[in-house]
Structures are given as C-alpha cells and as structure tokens.
Assembly symmetry: C2
Homo-oligomer: 597 residues x 2
C-alpha cells in the first residue's frame, strides 16, 4: 500500500483545533515557530515518508533483518533511506542546539514521527530508540558524557538503544540481574543478557550507544537497586575517534509476528565497559522521563495503525464491487455496487476514521503539554505535567488497542484478500500488535492510570481534566448544534467521577479491586477522552461551515464522524461500567488449581 | 506449544451435557454408537493430534508450502502425518458405508475435527476441504460419478477441493465468470481462474478432485446461472486407473498472514475437462448443504483458537513471575508472584476458557442437530433443520470472532514474549484470522442471520430457540442456585424479542436498517446463545456436586466460569443494544465523497 500523508487533517489539528502557533508564542524558545515553518516541515516530512519510506514498508517486511555471526543487516534500501533521513536533519529536530539539534518543539517532532511511522513502522524504530538514549544522556549525563556522545547521536551518525528487559523480567524491572562491577578507572564491567532490544545491532550507523539497566555490587533488592550505564558498541577514544570493539555482542535476533524489518536483539554483555550515568541505584527514576516520552511515541504508533488501515480500507471500499445496496442499486452500470454502500463496511471505515483522527487530535494535544513541561514554567508547567501524568497511560493503552482494532477492520474490509500479504492490511495487524505490549502492556498502563495516577492523587489529576472538559461544555452550552455532544459528555463526566469514587471505596475493602477494575476503567476513560476531542473538532468544523468555508466536504465529514463516534463508539462505555459494577470477585473466586482443562 | 486434548471437557459436553448416547439411540443408523465406542475414538484422535500433528504445527508455519512450476510441496512431516491419518480411517468417519466410509454421526467427527484442528490448523485444511467435495458428490452425483470418485476420496487416497472464489468475486458468487462449454461426449471444457483454493495443489495425494462453479453458455446472469462441475486434476480411466493430466494447473500459492502450511492456490482452468454435477444452473443451491457444514467446520475452528490460546496462556500464567499481588505476597519463596494472581490476567484466562468451553458446547449441540437432519425424520428432523438454520450463522461469526479475541489474549498474557514466534501464541492469532473471513465473513453471516433467517422467517426460527431456552428456565425456576443464571437469561430473551421487533419495524421504513443492525444483532445473539449453554453447564456441574462427585475442582470451575461469563461477558450485550437503538443513520449520512483523508 502506498501511504499518503494526511496533511489536511494534520493541519486541521495543529492550526485549527490546537492553534499551535499561539501555543509556541507562550514559550520563549519556540516563539519563532510559525505556521509557515510548520507547514514547510510537514510537507518535507510527508514527501520523504511517501516517497522514500512507504515503498520500503512491505519489502522490508518480506525480507526482514538478517543475522550472521553477531552482525545484523537491515533490509534492502534501509541504509539509503536512513542516510537521507539524517541528511534532512530529522534525527536532530527536537535535540538541543548545543549538540547540533534544532531545538524544535516536541509537538512538531510528534507530527513527523506520525508520518514516518505510518509509512514504515519498522524503519521508525531505529531513530525512535536513539531518541530515548539521546534524551537520557541530555538529562542525566555529565558534560563529558554529553560531549562524547551527543553530537554524533543527534546527527544520526551513531544510534542508541535502551537495554531494560531480561528474559525473566519484562514489566517487573525490579528483578533484573545484569551486574555492573567497578573498575579502578571509574568505569564498570557490565555482565548479563538483555532481550527485546530494538535496534540493538544493525548496519545503519558506525556505533551504537546502549543505555543499560544493571545492578551495582551490594545494591538493594528490587527497583531501588538499579543503576543506569552507557555502554558503547565501539569504544570512543579521547579525540572522538572510534577505538576497540566493546564486549557487547548481539547473540541473535527474534523471529516475530511483525515489525520484521526492525531488529529485535538479544544482547550479551560479557564484561563490557560501561559508564555510570545519573546517581547510583536511581536508574529507574532516571528512566521515567524517557519512559513517558516513549509511551507517547507508542501511543502515536496506535494512531499510525488506524490511519494506515483507514487509507487502505477506503481505497478498497470505493473500488471493490460486491452485492447490491439493500435500498436499491447504486451503480447500475456495474455488475455490483462498491462495498462502501453497505452499512457494515461503513461502520468499519468510520470506526477507523474516528480512531485515527480522534487519536491524532489526542496525541497532538498531549504533545503540546510535553512542550510546556520541557520548556515552559510556573503553574502552566505544573498543570501540563499533571495532565500528561493522567493522559499518557490512557493514550498509550487506548490508542494502541483501538489501533489494533482499526487494523483488524482493515483486513476485514478486504475480505479474503485482507489475509494476503500483497495488500498490506495483514502486515499492519502484525506490526501494530507489538504496541499493546511494549513500553508497558495495556494492563500495566491501566494499573498506572487507576492506581498511581487517579487514586494515587486522591482524584486530583482526574479533577483537573474533568474541569477542562466542564469548562468547554459550559462555554458552548448555548450552542444548539453542540447539544448533541455536550449533553452526553456531561453525563459521562459525572459517570467517570461516580465510577472513580465507587472503585476507591471498593479498594479500601479489597486492594484487588483496583486490579479488577483497572482495564475497564482505562477503556472508559479513553472513550470519554476521545469524546471530548471529537466534540472540540465538531465545534471547529461547525464554525468553519458557518463562516462559509470552501472545504465543506472536509468539515461535514468531521461533524458526521463526531456524530458516528457518539452514536456508535461511545456506547461501549456502558459495558465497562457494568463490568466494573460486578466487582473483582468473578476474577478471584476460582482457585489456581481449578484453572485447568 | 504442545497441544493436549481436553478430553475431560469433551466427555463432559458429549456425555453429561448432551447425553449423546441417548441422542444416537433416537436415530436407527447410529444406535450402536455407545459411550465406550465414543471414548475409544476420542482417545485415539487425541493421541494422534497430540503426538503426530501438534509437533508439526510450528515447524509447518515456519517452513510453509513450497511452489515450483505448478507443483506444491507441503512442509516436512505433513506427508507422513497424512498417511497415518488415512490409515487410522479418519477421512472416512462420517462418509457413507457404501463407499468405504464408517457412517459415523457428524457429531462424532466434529469432536475429532476439533482435536485435529487445534493441534494443527493447516493440516486440517487438507482433509477438511476433501470432506466438502465428498459431500457434494454424495448428495448430487450420479451413480457413475459416485463410483468413479467416492471410494478413493473416502480412503484419503485422493483429495478434493471446492473452487468457488474468483479474484473479483468473493462473497458475491453471482458475478463469477468461469465458463463451461459443452463437448460432444457430454463433458464440458472449463475455462477461468479461481483463487483462494485451499488444498488446490499439494503432494499428499495422487489425485485431486475439484468441484468447480462455472457458467454454461447463455446461462442467466447472477446466482441463477451457475452450475457445478467435477474437474479431476488427473483424468480417471474407465477402470479407475489414472490417465492424462487434465488442463487445470496451480498458477501460484498465496503469501498470507497465517495457515502457512495450508496451500492456498490460484487455479487456472484452461479448457479443463469437467463433468456437470447436479442440475444445470442450480449449482449454488447444490452448494448450500456443503456451505452450512463448512460454516459449522469454521465455527469449530474458532473454538480451536480459543482452546489453543487458553492452554498456552494457562501454562505461562502459572509459571511466569512478575510483580506481587495487590492483596499481598502469594509466593514468598519466589522473586515475584506468578502472574495468574493478577485480576487482569485472570480476566483474559477466564475469557478464553468461557469462549473455548462455551464454544465447544455450542458446536457439539449444533452437531447433534446435523445428525438429526442427516439421518433423522419427521418433526424432529424439521425442527433440527430450523435450529441449524438459525444457529449456524451465529456460531460461525460469533465463535470465530471470539476465537480471535481469545487468541489475542494469548499473546497479551505472554507480554512481549507473545510477539515472538517460538511460543506459538502469535501464530494462533495469524492462523485464526482467516476464520472471520472465509466461508462468508462475519458481516455476511450477520446479514444471513438477521435478514434471511430471523426476519425472513417472520421470527419463527428465533421463536423456536427462545422457546427451548424458556422451557429450560421454566424447568429450573425453583432451583435456587440457578436463579443467578435464569433471571438474566429471561431478561435477555425478552430483550432479544424486543430488539427483533424494533429492527423489523425500522426495516419497513428503511431497508438499510437491516444492514445497519445486523452485526450488532449477531453479537447480541451470540452472547445470549452462549449464556444459555453456560447455564446448562452450570446446572450439570451443580448436580454432580450435589451428588458427591470426586472431581469437585472440575465442576466448581464450570460454575465459576459460568458466573464469570454472566458477570463480565454477557454485559457486552448492553453496548450492542445501544448501538442498534441509534439506527442506521450514523452510517449512511456521510456522502461517499466525504469519505476522505
């Protein structure tokens, strides 16, 4: 499938919905980012994604990565595409200027990441993981460490990884075993095995800088005994030139369901030289910044899956002929009607559209808070941080799960052809399946949302967001055309509060109640959050139509998609409410031994 | 993953829930089928599935089929397994005795198909498709045709296919183009291309008998102009020996998402010799029997996906350690608790169990009606036929969709490991994805259910089944322990009737209303149908416990799974009811041109 960047909708969200230009003016470092600059950047990224990355997406999946004696070769064309990506300055957009970055707002790089990721998910993993390593060094590295690594990472000459997971320790990082033993020169010897390391080994760059979680001798057990280390693949000499090969080797790459052109590596550290970054035993705390940003990146991947599925499905639904419409022939000159006439097909298309465009709005909305957290100050910064705390787990879990749903609809719209590789729809399902797992599974996000964020803040974080939505409802309560959205929104806000109190009370009696309700609560929260953004988008569209737009098809489609969302997707909340009302007992009453077959 | 046949549950459903022995006694041809015979057959099939087929499941997926110049080679081990399968007499179980079959009840072969299919879905496609061809010839062939083909097909020496789909014609068979031109000797020359032909070419048998849909010269347009032909791969001489190669060749095999060890072929008929089977232009009618049985077979595949996922997830959930239970440490001697302590993991396991065991009960229940339709008579036969008409589209769509959900939970329980091929969970998702597409998509089943079966019978078919359930409720209304199931069941029965009337009325105003409601209606029907079977299973379990069973863990698990189903899965119906209440307008109001991005 040939990807086409949805520039009209991207601009709708950035300019019309979120007024990014005004947002950037509130942050001194970003005040020069005007609409013209944004649009030129979007168009450059769109062109690169469409022309360089999209053509490598299916071929990369078919070929996969090659492993040979510790070395990994990426699929045909990836090396050239990566070179072009670096030449366009994309790895450096949001990095600090001091090290060659362009210091652009995170919200802008989010737009570009969306286009890159939709065109070629696997490709996006290579710079994507680098980004995490760059951020870690920017935030926690010494000046010497920054000077040694950052510039070459920012230009893309070197890449980076995050080495967290071990075979027995995924979500539960507290039980990792990799050891760091101090050397006399202040460095450490790192020994252990890490798995699922994206871009752990590949042929795109001359060096790979691993950020590794490990335990110092005598470190406390659990999460409070983990430290962070920089472990370069190739040692870096004082003058910046490359030295000897470090003792870190890729043992194998995984055979997996999707993102096959992204190398997922087993990395063996066999007394590799590493350098402590950040304070001893505070490695997990140092990772938190990165983890939140990584979760936002993964949430965007959910949007890419929905967008990709929608584009593929739409083309097919307009083209493919089967059956006649129940209300009578629509295409009398053809042997059958195009399947877009059938309500069941429209249901799938509109679901994809509602998730893709709603998800885009949510992610860009969130990314503006990231800008403010990074470079704003005062009460605004604190508020943005709180909004992010609440909305990140919702976005990560809800958008990756709905992305998977949308991808599956993509297969379904194609009928039997959806199962065949050549159309790209089945690859989309395989690629996006990882997003509900990595960077914390849906279940982990749900516990984070309900346990840590909502109940952990005594409801404060939720109250912030509810107030934002209430204010929106209040402002537009006299707008007749908005009543269809505002009435259900107010009803659901009340329900959200009631649900939260009810679970809070259940939890005082039985701590498992939080675990029992968390996933349903997360979905409920996700549907209400997206309802808020769809109401806002409908308002923008109504205003444009009232003002006499020349693009009425675009704006009417927005309003009708909002109506579809409220009529057909928001009702899913009723099931989550009912499930929560039956409590945790139906999960816990069965003894472990009774689980059998 | 090593499959283990769930013999305890299979016997529970066959003997305790459905009392198959008594059922067989009502049909003269089957009256000798006693419990001993059944159990020995189940154990033989279990042993074969576990020891011969399961070990080839993941290797077959990894290797796939090989195509070379019109010939297809199946993966390593398939040929030997197929030979063993034939030697055990499995292809012949339900075929007629006159041609070497064992004339066993369809319900018995359903049990065996479940085991074969769970152990190795791809393998099961080869005999599975043969079965359809055998049935077609049994029902519609001349004596000469039966004599020529059936015996070798029944022994498995030859296999068969069903050649329906063309590239432009999937669900809409009315628009197929393959032509049949009469020859002077009464045979026909068949010309055209068929796609998605399972087992269209392979190396397991000496001959392949294709059943092909094609049009005679001057045949009416649409579904009323389609005839059925027998087209052997290799011509059969009068004495039964093999003659020349017929002009039907496999053009290529598909690269697809799953069931990779099953060859999915493009078949090119280039003036191939074919023989009319059944009356001219009545080909689709002749196919109906086969299609219903094929849909039941596919519904069973949904159960296999749920069962496979449950087995894999359960083993992992008991073994994998991560985090501590929210209510306190459960495994103090380990670094973390096994993940089965977490409610979110239990939710996934219980969902899998509820769909696997509930689906098994539904499929065996249905298969008993097939027995009666095939070999019973009078009012019972008519009633069974009506029940099958109603329940087949529900079972096909609902069980394949819930099978896919269960398979996805399988990946999720494993976390990141679920995405890796070696565990088998991702293959299960890829394999089972086809089941929602082939033999009529979920959307086609939904239209069949609501449009043809329920509304088309003026509600008669639904009333039959509702009466069966009402009678059950009435019989056990004084059983206190059954109230928890019977009360919600009665409520949902009433809702089912109300929904049906409401849609019927909407449809008189707008024919699209049927298409708009159909998929939601199907899911609603599926959840209520399974609720009935779970209530019945709970009753059997309660009785066994009351009578002092020695297997109380098994029976308590049944009751608790039923309770879980009613508390956590049946509430999904509320969303479907709400979606139906908002009508078809939200799907249809958007103009085709407004569908864009």
């Amino acid at each position: 499938m040939q990807y086409k960047a949805p520039l009209r909708d991207i601009k709708f969200v950035m300019h019309e919905l979120l007024d990014s230009e005004s947002h950037y003016k509130t942050i001194p470092e970003f005040e020069d980012t005007d609409r013209e600059l944004m649009d030129s950047l979007f168009e450059m990224a769109a062109s690169f994604a469409e022309n360089e990355l999209s053509p490598l997406n299916q071929s990369g999946d078919a070929e996969g990565c090659h492993f040979n004696n510790g070395e990994v070769t990426t699929p045909k064309g990836f090396k050239e595409a990566y070179k072009a990506f670096c030449e366009l300055g994309f790895p450096a957009l949001s990095a600090e200027e001091a090290f060659g970055g362009q210091n652009m707002p995170f919200s802008l790089s989010t737009v570009i990441n969306e286009m890159v990721g939709t065109a070629n998910w696997s490709f996006s993993m290579y710079p994507g993981l680098s980004h995490g390593a760059i951020q870690t060094i920017e935030h926690h590295g010494t000046d010497a460490q920054k000077n040694t690594y950052l510039e070459k990472m920012v230009t893309g000459e070197w890449s980076g990884t995050m080495c967290l997971t071990e075979a027995h320790a995924g979500s539960d990082l507290g039980i990792i075993r990799t050891k760091a033993e101090p050397n006399d020169d202040g460095s450490y010897n790192i020994t252990g095995q890490k798995i699922f390391i994206s871009a752990g080994e590949h042929d795109l760059t001359d060096n790979i800088i691993h950020i590794v979680l490990a335990r110092l001798p005598g470190a406390p057990a659990g999460t409070k005994g983990i430290s962070l280390f920089i472990v370069p693949k190739v040692m870096v000499n004082e003058d910046g030139s490359l030295g000897d090969r470090n003792k870190v080797v890729c043992g194998s790459i995984e055979h997996k369901m999707g993102i096959k052109a992204s190398s997922t590596c087993v990395m063996n550290f066999d007394g590799a030289v590493g350098y402590l970054i950040g304070p001893e035993n505070r490695g997990l705390q140092c990772m938190f910044t990165f983890m939140n940003v990584a979760r936002i990146g993964t949430a965007v991947q959910g949007v890419t899956a929905a967008e990709y599925a929608f584009q593929g499905s739409l083309a097919y639904a307009k083209d493919r002929l089967a059956m006649r419409a129940l209300s009578g022939v629509k295409a009398p000159d053809k042997v059958a009607d195009p399947i877009i006439v059938h309500p069941a097909v429209r249901n799938m298309l509109l679901t994809q559209k509602a998730f893709a465009e709603g998800g885009r709005a949510l992610m860009y909305y969130l990314s503006h808070f990231v800008d403010t957290v990074a470079k704003g100050n005062g009460a605004e910064q604190e508020f943005a941080d709180q909004m992010l705390s609440l909305l990140t787990p919702i976005a990560k879990a809800f958008l990756t799960e709905t992305g998977l749903e949308a991808a599956n609809h993509g297969v379904q719209v194609y009928g039997g052809h959806g199962f065949i590789s050549e159309w790209g729809m089945e690859q989309n399902v395989r690629d996006t399946r990882i997003a509900c797992l990595y960077e914390g599974t849906t279940e982990i996000q749900a516990l984070d949302l309900l346990g840590r964020k909502v109940l952990g803040s005594q409801g404060k974080l939720l109250a912030n967001f509810v107030q934002v939505i209430e204010q929106f409802c209040e402002e537009h309560k006299d707008n007749d055309e908005m009543g269809q959205f505002i009435r259900p929104l107010i009803k659901h806000l009340k329900e959200w509060g009631d649900l939260t109190s009810r679970i809070g009370m259940q939890a005082t009696e039985n701590p498992e109640a939080v675990g029992g309700a968390a996933v349903d609560y997360l979905y409920f929260s996700g549907y209400v959050t997206l309802a808020y953004l769809w109401a806002r988008m409908a308002l923008v569209a109504q205003t444009a139509i009232a003002e006499g737009t020349t693009e009425s098809a675009f704006y009417y489609a927005k309003i009708k998609t909002a109506q579809f969302y409220y009529a057909k997707l928001l009702p899913r909340t009723t099931t989550y409410v009912q499930r929560i009302s039956t409590g945790v007992e139906p999960y816990m009453s069965m003894d472990v031994e009774q689980f059998a077959f």
